[in-house]
Amino acid sequence: MSKFKKNKKNGTPPISTASLPDIVFMLLFFFMVTTVMRETEMLVDNTLPQATEVKKLERKSLVSYIYIGSPRGLNRKKQFGTKAKIQLNDSYANVADIQAFIAAERESRAEEEIPLLTTSIKADVDVKMGIISDIKEELRKAQAYKINYSTRKELK
């Protein structure tokens, strides 16, 4: 009799949670590997235009970014005005600084990667073409011919 009673008391055995850390660690490593931390603080407004015929930018390590837009936030707008400004890395820059910027980007890469370098132009929708043309002219002078107009994919 006592035998049967004992069995009933046990019920379903508890599920072992010993492997739970392993599963969580697996997920953790996945996200650690895929995470790209934003390395620059945005100093300009940056609403990208929409387009349908877009290409993916592969190999992010070979892309240098040029941000263009009006200064972000009310304080900066008071200080610098609302005219479109160029941001390179973490600071505002002038059109004349672009050649030096491209040179610095090249310096930090291996020699065989230099022809693969792409410059991504991340400009705000409200920016006028004048400043973009000036930038393109500077990029031509710096022989950085591969460019990419960064866009959002259009929602249909």
Binding site: P21, V24, T35, P49, E53, K56, T118, N148, T151
Partner: protein
Amino acid sequence: MARSNRSTPEINAGSMADIAFLLLIFFLVTTTMDVDTGIARKLPPTAEEQEPEDMQGNARNIYEVYVNKQDKLLVEENEMKIENLREGARNFIDNNGKDPSLSDSPEKAIISLVNSRGTSYEMYISVQNELTAAYNELRNEAAITKYNLNYTELPKAKQKEIRKMYPMKISEAPPGEF
């Protein structure tokens, strides 16, 4: 003696999962999965010696697109809405000599894009987008008639062949004030 027998007490690993969860949530929150996309272009070299040769083709092979500072389009001296640009460019590129005012062949067709310094970037990108779309559609149709496959599904060599049939020639003049 006793000390050689004594083993170190087992570390309680029950909270390991909690620590891992904490880290996991941190990375989950900070992760951005978005891929950068955009319209790829190649700038022409500064040396302009190849320009006259390119422009030698008679006027019918050049499709002039002007965008002024009010973001209005002037295509081949007629006003045009952005919605019609794709169709217009397609007709121009794929004319193959039929219409005497449009291009001789897709290889000879050049699109000349001139914008004002006051054109908005948004408008410029939509024009670029429509022109790219015209080429992409033509390439895709050529791929379907030739290989019964979409352009993007073709192997690299065949994509190159189709690209040769419809080379994308968009020439941009320095912007003016208009």
